[in-house]
């Protein structure tokens, strides 16, 4: 029980019962006691309890009546009734009606109470876990729905473009212009391929088992640079790097590669061709505890109203040349999986700066 202690509320009109209970269990559980049902309800308003114990025989309100009253308003805590032998039929009735989970007869015995509390807590925890899982599932389903919708578009659109070009090419008598059509088909196929690679990255990131190794940022950046510098859209962009790594930094190299790849590719894609010296500058400062990565460019920039939306799934900012809107979403997912943070500052027409902080993962 080294996690958070089980929170218990105990209501009994006899003060000495309350105190002996607290004395016996206070080391084990987080206990709140009161002799008033009114006060008990007030406590429940302000604090989440896992288990509520109530004495059956109290003046004005019985334990069962109290449970009936709080049951709909506070359905989460597990209810346990404490009762003397004379109340046994009331207790059985309460159990059968579902008002209480267990009853403990008086005078109670330490181990018996402990067992009752453990099994009550198990039920409480199972229910809470189930609720949590349900929420996660719901979120996953919503995401999947959105995913299927947008993915079907991003997979079909380039294919339909290819088909359109083929139809057009078939109408063309001039053989020479066929090459132009082939070039368009090539670009469209590339676009489709990029999207499929992104989807696979996303999947690996979301479901794959992270592999933590020692990271050399120098190596990683060189590797990423090698894959991009021959891209036709690279143009006359200048990429400079400033990597300062001291000591051993540990992380998941695959996720880092996804992050570098997407951010640098974006800087290339959204470079401002009207500027004489388009650049992207990558800074990495890594210590054994954390790494700070900055990707700065003088590209077209991001509208202020878009800046908080660009990390959403399938959000596409900018009308021309934009991709499917999945790249930065994957980046964001990867960074949060690594326990890090990303922020952006950008001015339209001037450029963008992405700043990332990632802690080293201790094996």
């Amino acid at each position: 029980m080294n996690e958070k202690a089980i929170s218990i509320l105990y209501i009994d009109d006899e003060e000495h019962n309350l105190h002996s209970f607290k004395a016996s269990f206070r080391k084990q559980y987080d206990i709140t006691i009161t002799s008033s049902v009114v006060e008990a309800e007030q406590f429940m308003e302000t604090k989440d309890f896992c288990i509520v114990l109530a004495d059956q025989r109290m003046p004005h309100t019985t334990g069962v009546q109290f449970f009936e009253k709080i049951r709909t308003k506070f359905p989460k805590p597990i209810r346990i009734l404490i009762t003397g032998h004379t109340d046994i039929s009331a207790a059985i009735d309460a159990i059968n009606k579902g008002e209480v989970f267990r009853f403990i007869d008086k005078p109670w015995d330490y181990t018996y109470v402990e067992t009752a509390i453990s099994s009550a807590y198990e039920i409480y925890k199972t229910r809470e876990d189930l609720k949590q899982r349900n929420m996660e599932l719901q979120k996953a389903n919503e995401e999947l729905d959105k995913f299927v919708y947008s993915a079907s578009h991003d997979l079909r659109a380039p294919l339909m473009s290819v088909l359109g070009i083929v139809n057009l090419a078939l109408l063309e008598e001039d053989i020479k212009s066929q090459n132009e059509y082939l070039e368009l088909i090539r670009q469209s196929v590339k676009k489709l391929d990029t999207f499929i690679i992104n989807i696979i990255d996303y999947y690996k990131n979301a479901r794959g088992v992270p592999v933590v190794t020692d990271i050399s940022f120098e190596e990683l950046v060189t590797e990423v640079q090698a894959t991009i510098q021959y891209l036709p859209e690279y143009g006359n962009l200048t990429m400079t790097t400033d990597i300062d790594q001291t000591g051993v930094f540990q992380s998941d190299v695959m996720k880092l590669r996804i992050i570098f790849n997407n951010l640098i590719n974006n800087a290339i894609k959204f470079q401002d061709k009207s500027k004489p010296d388009p650049y992207v500058h990558l800074t990495v400062k890594s210590t054994p505890t954390e790494a700070k990565i900055i990707v700065a460019d003088n590209g077209s920039g991001i509208k202020e109203s878009d800046q908080d939306k660009i990390f959403r799934m399938f959000y596409r900012a900018g009308a021309t040349n934009s991709g499917s809107g999945i790249g930065l979403y994957i980046v964001h997912e990867a960074i949060s999986k690594l326990g890090g943070e990303i922020s952006v500052s950008s001015k339209i027409g001037q450029g963008s700066i992405f700043e990332i902080n990632i802690p080293s993962i201790l094996k």
Binding site: S150, R156, L163, G164, L168, A319, S322
Partner: protein
């Protein structure tokens, strides 16, 4: 002989603008195609020059960043009646999502949803040509 039609193409894909402009002209259905790579830009054009425009057929893409096809329709609805009367809108999209298809069918401003790639003969039939 019927006068030639005027087309506006609205699509964020520079590809598709290129393809369908060529296709429409090659098919002989029109000699006048104007392309817009954003719905907002097209809307601005209609708002500013709507009253002086001839009859126009718009082929409107659905999934576009910033303003999508349906959002364009919502804004289009607010234009003066005289401008709207001059314009026929077809949605041209690769969507196969039933919600999109139903929404397009339900819209009073969208004559029909044409699947990509555009089949000019299909369009001609829709225009009673």
């Amino acid at each position: 002989m019927k006068p030639l039609l005027n087309f506006f193409l609205i699509d964020d894909s520079a590809f598709d603008l290129f393809i369908y402009e060529k296709l429409l002209i090659k098919s002989g259905i029109t000699e006048s195609v104007r392309t817009f790579n954003s719905a907002r830009e097209a809307l601005k054009h209609l708002a500013n020059h709507g009253s002086t425009l001839p009859e126009i057929i718009i082929l409107l893409d659905l999934q576009m960043p910033d303003m999508n096809g349906f959002e364009f329709i919502d804004e289009f609805d607010l234009l003066p009646e005289a401008v709207k009367a001059q314009i026929k809108i077809f949605m041209l999209s690769s969507t196969i999502d039933t919600r999109d298809i139903e929404k397009a069918k339900a819209s009073p401003h969208i004559i029909d949803l044409l699947p990509k790639p555009l089949e000019v003969n299909f369009l001609k039939k829709k225009l009673d040509m």
